[in-house]
Symmetry: C2
Subunit: 314 residues, 2 copies
């Protein structure tokens, strides 16, 4: 039995993270059609764009898919209305307190999963009544907690205290790491970076090429005072670094960050001035692949390493 | 087949990290007697003390044990002479370049393992001719690399590029995490924090009590300009934090660190002024146990989670 598969009625307990600027209907429907769970990344969409992506996604797949919402999004109520209107069955919420919104979704029969970076928030999410949690380690790309607990240290800690299904995120880009996450206590995985660099991702090709070029230590978790984010150390990051060296105020950091940096980098392909959000596993990604290729490698890799472990002499 | 077990002629591929102020002959011989590999932590020992611990360790166990040496240790040549004199068969080296010393050990038939925090240094260690490497993630306690690659992100990356056995370190404190490390490509694990808090550890009881009280996010990797180290956020750390806030120079940081901080905290039990080096897994450690209890929990836990995975519906 696998509770993540049962909860979402999917073939493989592999969830594609709802990443801003990467996770439009093409990516989402491809993942769902391949047996995983695709999530539309609504945080980079105006309400009418989200509406459009849900409609297109429904046309492209008859399999379950979901929407990731950032609870701090300014037009969150519009997003929620659209999700309910279209009878989307699964919502992953992040970046905010799930206490207020979880009950609204549950009233409409929507499955709710909340993303947490530590045990403290995991317990809060359980109290809010979510169906499962994504536990995301320090190595994950994009917006993350201010804590630095890694996937390896965090999952067993959370597993000991809660009973609802755990979906591991951060550091996962292969069948090997899926099995590792399961050994730690997860029943599913959420994968971001690998899908951000997929053919079906709506990210700009320049950004995808940067992901496959990235080596170890090319990403960093920064901007902890504003909204902690793991990104590639490009020219824009160098400006952040210099700002820290010069001890600029949080206000000045905000000005430097400005608006639409992530769009500029990830969607428009400006590698100099844009913000390029990605995880540490980018060092393991060396080719742009289709979602089908990725899903096959993940599932075959999982089976292979599981068989190897059985032959292992401990 | 397990190459780590074969290399060291041990029953379980579990290595007790050679931690300063914790890893004297009592801990080392207890781990080796329980079927793992104990390592004397020589970095906190004057040559005559190391000599004494090796002699006592040999009396306390007829099983293989080793010595961890810090290659930047001022009297490293004396340490090496003592290791060779006593015909110690296994050396783990860290904190320095293995190129110079590996061949000296190999000439004396000593097995050499080097500790690395990234792929770059892993490749250098392979070139130096070591028999295996410890790959240590960001979550590990004590002295660590300046990189922030976590165990989950790093092991598969290294595994793809090298063929000698990999011993995973950082984030490992249970059978679950041992199996996770194996899934990622390791053939053995090095465990620190859990043994630092064991009954046989030579750490001060005050320090052990702090370890079992520690929660998530109570440790941090700091002092990157001097020698990066993960430690508990106690009063001494608060001074480091304040120093960073006040942008003191690296020289001033050195003065603040002073000498013998680790001894003061870990060996003398000064929780205010001392440096308390420990990993993120301290959040999972809630009791002081004997080495035998720890080894049994690890090996039984490993078998249990391995069986669970076999029943797992992917």
């Amino acid at each position: 039995m696998n509770r993540v598969k049962e909860l979402f009625e999917i073939k493989y307990p592999i969830i594609q993270g709802g990443m801003l600027w990467c996770s439009g209907w093409e990516l989402v429907s491809a993942v769902s059609n391949a047996g995983g769970l695709g999530l539309i990344g609504s945080a980079s969409m105006y309400p009418d764009i989200l509406d459009e992506h849900i409609i297109k996604c429904k046309k492209a797949t008859d399999k379950p898919f979901g929407v990731n919402i950032a609870l701090i999004y300014p037009q969150i109520d519009d997003h929620i209305e659209i999700i309910i209107k279209h009878k989307v069955k699964i919502v992953f919420s992040s970046a905010g307190n799930p206490a207020k919104y979880t009950s609204i979704f549950k009233e409409h029969g929507i499955k709710v999963v909340h993303v947490v970076p530590n045990l403290r928030f995991a317990l809060k999410a359980v109290n809010a009544g979510v169906d499962a949690i994504v536990v995301e380690g320090f190595e994950a790309g994009g917006h993350n907690g201010i804590d630095e607990m890694t996937t390896m240290s965090l999952i067993p800690l959370v597993k000991k205290e809660i009973n609802i299904p755990i979906i591991a995120a951060g550091g996962i880009a292969s069948g090997d790491s899926i099995l590792a996450a399961f050994a730690l206590g997860a029943e599913g995985v959420q994968i971001g970076s690998l899908f951000a660099a997929s053919k079906e991702s709506s990210a700009h090709i320049n950004f995808k090429n940067e992901i496959i070029k990235a080596k170890e230590n090319d990403t960093i978790l920064t901007l902890k005072e504003l909204a902690p984010v793991r990104l590639l150390k490009n020219s824009f990051y160098q400006k952040i670094f210099d700002a820290y060296q010069n001890r600029v105020s949080t206000e000045d950091l905000k000005t430097l960050l400005g608006r639409a940096r992530a769009k500029k980098g990830m969607f428009e392909g400006d590698l100099i001035e844009g913000e390029l959000e990605i995880g540490q596993v980018s060092a393991q990604i060396n080719k742009i692949k289709t979602v089908n290729e990725i899903m096959e490698e993940l599932t075959e890799g999982f089976k292979r390493v599981k068989n190897n472990l059985n032959n292992f002499d401990f």
